[in-house]
Amino acid sequence: MLLLIIKRMANAIFVILAVSLLAFTIFKFLGDPVQLMLNPQATQQERDLLTERLGLNDPVPVQFAKFVFNAARGEFGMSYRNQMPVMEVIAERFPATFELVLVSSIMALVIGLPLGVFAAIRGGTVMARVFHLISMIGVSVPAFVIGIMLILVFSIELKWLPAFGRGKVVDLGFWTTGFLTPSGRAALVMPSISLALFQISFIMRLVTAEMLEVLRTDFIRFAKARGLKARAIYFRHGLRNCMMPVVTMTGMLIGDLIAFTLVTEIVFQWPGMGFLFVQSVQYVDIPVMAAYLMIVCCIFITINLIVDLIYVVVDPRVDQLVRGGGNGH
C-alpha cells in the first residue's frame, strides 16, 4: 500500500505542473485586469505603470516560472480583486463549499444506495418505476433549473427556506460552520438538494445496473440455495460485490462537486470556492484563478488516492496487483 501511495505522489507532481501550465496559457486569453482595477479617469501612463508593476508585460513562460517558483515556497500572491493574500481568500471560502459537498455526498449515498438496491430487487413494481422516473429527471435536468424551481416553491410560495446565502455561521477560528445554527442548517437544505439530485440519481442507476448483474451470478443462486436470509444475500453478498464501480464514481463525483459547485453556488449566492472562481474570472484575478486550479487539482489527486486505498479494503486482490505479485491475472 505504501508503494501505491509513493507512486501516486510522483505522478501528482507532474499532473499539477501540467495543469498550472495549461492554466497560465489560458489566462493569456482572459483579458486585462488593469482595465478593471483603475478608474475610467486614470491616464494611460497610470495604466501602463500598473501593468508593468503587476508583471503582466512579461512573456507567459516568465510569468509561469515566477508563479511556480513562488508557489513552491507557498507564496500565491495577492488577489487583484479582494486585495488580500490569495490563500486567505480561498481558505475563507473552503468551509462553505466543503460543507455543501459533504451534505450532498452523504445524501447521495444514503438515499442513492438503498433506492438502487430496491429498484434492482423489486424490478417490476410501481414504486421501482416511480424511482426510475425520478432518477431520469435527476440525471437530465441541470442543477440550476432545480435550484430555481426549489427557490420558487420553498422561498417565494411557501416562504419556508431562505433563497440565498449560508445563514448564520459560527466561526471556529480556522473554520466557519453552518451546521450549528438553525438558519445555517436551513440554508443548506436547498443548495445541497439541488446539488445532490444528480448524484442520487446517478448512484441509484449505477447500483441498480450493477446489482442486476450480480444477482444473476451463480454464487447468489448458491447463497439462495443455502437458505440464507434475503437481507444477507442482497446486502452482504450482492451489494458488496457491486461496490467497486460505486466507490470509484462516488470519488469522482465528490471531486466534481468540489470543483464544479459553481452553478449551484451562483444560484444560491453560496459564498464558496466555485463562486469565488467565477468572480475571479470576471475580474481576471489571475493569482486567485491560478491558486484555485492548483488546489482543485490537489483535491482531485487526493480523492483518487483515497479511492485507490478503498479499493484495497473492498477488494484485496487490488493490493496484490499493485505489488506485481499477481496470480497470473
Binding site: 486569453f29 482572459l30 483579458g31 486585462d32 485586469p33 482595465q35 478593471l36 482595477m37 483603475l38 478608474n39 475610467p40 479617469q41 486614470a42 491616464t43 494611460q44 501612463q45 497610470e46 495604466r47 505603470l49 500598473l50 508593476r53 503587476l54 508583471g55 507564496e75 500572491g77 495577492m78 488577489s79 480583486r81 479582494n82 486585495q83 488580500m84 493574500p85 475563507e92 438515499i111 430555481i148 427557490i151 420553498f154 422561498s155 417565494i156 419556508w160 427556506l161 431562505p162 433563497a163 440565498f164 438553525p182 438558519s183 442548517r185 436551513a186 437544505v189 438538494i193 442520487i200 451562483i266 444560484v267 444560491f268 449566492q269 459564498p271 463562486f275 468572480q279 470576471q282 475580474y283
Partner: protein
C-alpha cells in the same frame, strides 16, 4: 421521501428561518459585492458609493448632484494654484478621534501615492499643507477647474488610525502589501462599519454622533450581494431583502405586480454610443485598401440606419432615454441642441452609402461585450440587423468585457460600443478628455477610434485650464457639438437603472448617478 423530510424540517423551523425584518434594519442586496473596505484600493464607482456611508469627503453631492460642503465648511481660491479649505469643527471619527487638518494631509498623501490605484482621481494634485488645525491649502496645477468634483470621491481617513495600523501607504497587490484598511474602517460618515465577509455579508450600524442632521431612520444596514438575477428577485418577493439597486429589467413587470414592492426606474448618467475606428485601413472588411468609416457619409449612413425608438421600446422595455448627446442632461456641459438625433431613414442611409461609393455595402467587424452595459448584447444584435437592412455586413463579435476591452485598446475592431457615465467627476470634461481628445500625453485613453481633431483638442485643453465655470462649460458644449457635427460617434441612449424596494421601505432617494444614499432613506415605522 427526501423532499418530504426536508419539507417537514423546514416547516418545523419556518418561524425562525425567514424572520421578519427588525425595525430599522435595512437588508440590501446589490448585484455584486464591494471589492474592499479601503476607498483607495480599486477604481470602482459602486464600491466608493457604498463606502461613502462610512467615509466622507471634504465636499459631496446634494440631492440635485450639486456640490455642497461636507467635511469642509467653506473654501476659496487664493491664487491659480492654491485652494484653501476651512474644515468643519467638532467632527468625530467612529473611534472617537477628532477630525483635523492632519487627517486631510495624510489622506491626500495616501491617495496620491504613485502606487495608489486612485491616483487618477486627483489628476491635478501637487501637494497640500496645513495652515492651522482646521485650515488646509491644496496646491494644484494652474487654473485646474475640477478640484471640487475630484474631492467628492476622496474619502478622508483618520491620520492617527492609519499610523497606528501601519496603513499610511495604499495597498499594493503588485508587491503583496496587505492593508489593515482592506478589512477595517474608521470614518466620519453616517454609518459605522461593523463586520464583513466578502461576497456574503457586510454590516453597518448607525453612527449616533454624526455631525450632520439625521434625516434617515435606518439603524442597521445588512448588505448581502446576490449575483443571480432570479435569486435576487426571489429574495425580494419572499421578503428576505428590503432593497436592491439592481432590479433586472426583464423582471420589472413581475415586481410591480407584487403589491408590497415598489420599482424606481429612470435613465442614469451613462450614455451608450458606437465608436468607429479611424485607422487608414479597415481592420476586418472586404474593403481592403482603405477605411470606409473615415468618410463622414458612411458614418451618417450608419447613424440614419438605426431605429432608436425600436431599441428603446423593444430592447430596453421603454426604460432608456433615447439621445443624440454623448452626455446625459444631468452632466454639466450638456446643452439641448446636443440631443438632436439624425433621423431614422434607411432610404437616405442607402443613398449616402451609394454616394460614398459603397452601393452594395461592405463588411466590418462589430465588437460588443455581453456583460457590461444594460442589455448590450441585445442592442448590438438589433443594430446589426438594422445595418444589414441597408446592405452593410457587420460581423458581430461578442465576449466578456475584459477580453473585448483589450481588443478595443489594441484597435482590433471597426465599430464597437462604449458607455460613459462621467464618473466620478460628473462633468463632461471627463468624456472629452478621456474619449474625444486625441491620444496625446495623458489624454485620450479611451479614444479607441483614434480621432484627432485640432479644433476639439484645443477646446478641451483650454477648458481644462479655465476656472470660470460658465466659460468652461460653454467650451465643453462647443466641443461636444463639433463631435456631433463630424458624426464622430453614434449616440444611442442613456441606459436605464432600476431599483426595487420592499414593504419596509418608505422612501429612498434615487439620483441619476445610480448611487444608493441610505443616509436619506426612510423605513416604515
Amino acid at each position: 421521501m427526501v423532499a418530504w423530510r426536508s419539507a417537514a424540517l423546514a416547516a418545523a423551523l419556518a418561524g425562525v428561518l425567514i424572520a421578519p425584518a427588525n425595525a430599522g434594519t435595512l437588508r440590501w442586496a446589490p448585484q455584486r459585492d464591494i471589492v474592499s473596505m479601503d476607498p483607495y484600493s480599486f477604481g470602482d464607482t459602486f464600491t466608493l458609493s457604498v463606502l461613502n456611508h462610512v467615509y466622507e469627503g471634504l465636499v459631496r453631492y446634494d440631492d440635485k448632484l450639486q456640490i455642497e460642503p461636507a467635511l469642509a465648511e467653506s473654501w476659496e481660491v487664493i491664487n491659480p494654484t492654491t485652494w484653501r479649505f476651512h474644515l468643519r469643527k467638532g467632527v468625530k471619527y467612529h473611534d472617537g478621534a477628532d477630525f483635523t487638518a492632519d487627517d486631510v494631509l495624510a489622506s491626500l498623501k495616501r491617495v496620491s501615492d504613485p502606487t495608489s490605484p486612485l491616483r487618477g482621481n486627483v489628476p491635478s494634485y501637487v501637494s497640500s499643507s496645513k495652515v492651522d488645525d482646521y485650515t488646509v491649502d491644496i496646491i494644484v496645477t494652474e487654473n485646474y477647474p475640477l478640484l471640487l468634483n475630484d474631492l467628492t470621491n476622496i474619502h478622508i481617513f483618520d491620520q492617527g488610525w492609519l499610523v497606528a495600523n501601519k496603513a499610511e501607504a495604499p495597498t499594493d497587490v503588485a508587491k503583496g502589501v496587505e492593508g489593515y484598511a482592506t478589512s477595517h474602517a474608521n470614518g466620519t460618515g453616517p454609518f459605522k462599519f461593523i463586520s464583513r465577509k466578502p461576497d456574503a455579508e457586510t454590516v453597518f450600524e448607525v453612527n449616533p454622533n454624526w455631525w450632520d442632521t439625521r434625516k434617515h431612520n435606518v439603524d442597521r444596514i445588512v448588505m448581502t450581494p446576490i449575483t443571480s438575477a432570479a435569486t435576487r428577485v426571489a429574495a425580494l418577493i419572499s421578503g428576505e431583502i428590503d432593497f436592491t439597486n439592481q432590479a433586472p429589467l426583464q423582471d420589472i413587470p413581475r415586481l410591480e405586480a407584487s403589491s408590497d414592492l415598489k420599482v424606481l426606474s429612470n435613465s442614469e448618467l451613462r450614455t451608450i454610443f458606437f465608436v468607429m475606428n479611424q485607422t487608414p485601413k479597415a481592420f476586418e472588411s472586404d474593403v481592403t485598401d482603405k477605411n470606409p468609416l473615415q468618410d463622414i457619409k458612411v458614418r451618417q449612413a450608419l447613424y440614419h440606419a438605426i431605429d432608436a425608438d425600436a431599441i428603446q421600446k423593444v430592447v430596453m422595455a421603454g426604460l432608456s432615454r433615447t439621445t443624440g448627446s454623448l452626455v446625459s442632461p444631468a452632466i454639466p456641459g450638456y446643452v439641448p441642441e446636443l440631443d438632436k438625433r439624425l433621423s431614422y431613414d434607411p432610404e437616405l442611409a442607402k443613398k449616402l452609402l451609394a454616394e460614398a461609393g459603397y452601393p452594395d455595402g461592405f463588411s466590418f467587424s462589430f465588437l460588443c461585450r455581453n456583460t457590461e452595459f444594460v442589455n448590450e448584447e441585445q442592442i448590438c444584435q438589433a443594430v446589426s440587423a438594422m445595418w444589414a437592412r441597408i446592405g452593410l455586413r457587420p460581423n458581430l463579435n461578442l465576449g466578456p468585457t475584459t477580453i473585448q476591452d483589450a481588443k478595443f485598446d489594441a484597435g482590433q475592431f471597426d465599430v464597437g460600443t462604449l458607455g460613459w457615465a462621467n464618473e466620478p467627476m460628473i462633468d463632461s470634461y471627463s468624456i472629452l478628455v478621456q474619449v474625444v481628445h486625441s491620444k496625446t500625453g495623458n489624454a485620450g485613453v479611451f479614444n479607441w477610434g483614434g480621432w484627432k481633431d485640432a479644433e476639439i483638442d484645443a477646446l478641451i485643453d483650454k477648458a481644462g485650464a479655465t476656472v470660470d465655470r460658465d466659460e468652461r462649460l460653454a467650451m465643453q458644449a462647443k466641443a461636444l457639438l463639433r463631435a456631433n457635427e463630424l458624426s464622430m460617434f453614434i449616440p444611442v441612449h442613456q441606459q436605464p437603472m432600476a431599483w426595487a424596494t420592499g414593504a419596509n421601505i418608505e422612501s429612498v432617494l434615487q439620483l441619476s448617478d445610480n448611487k444608493p444614499r441610505h443616509w436619506l432613506t426612510r423605513m416604515a415605522e
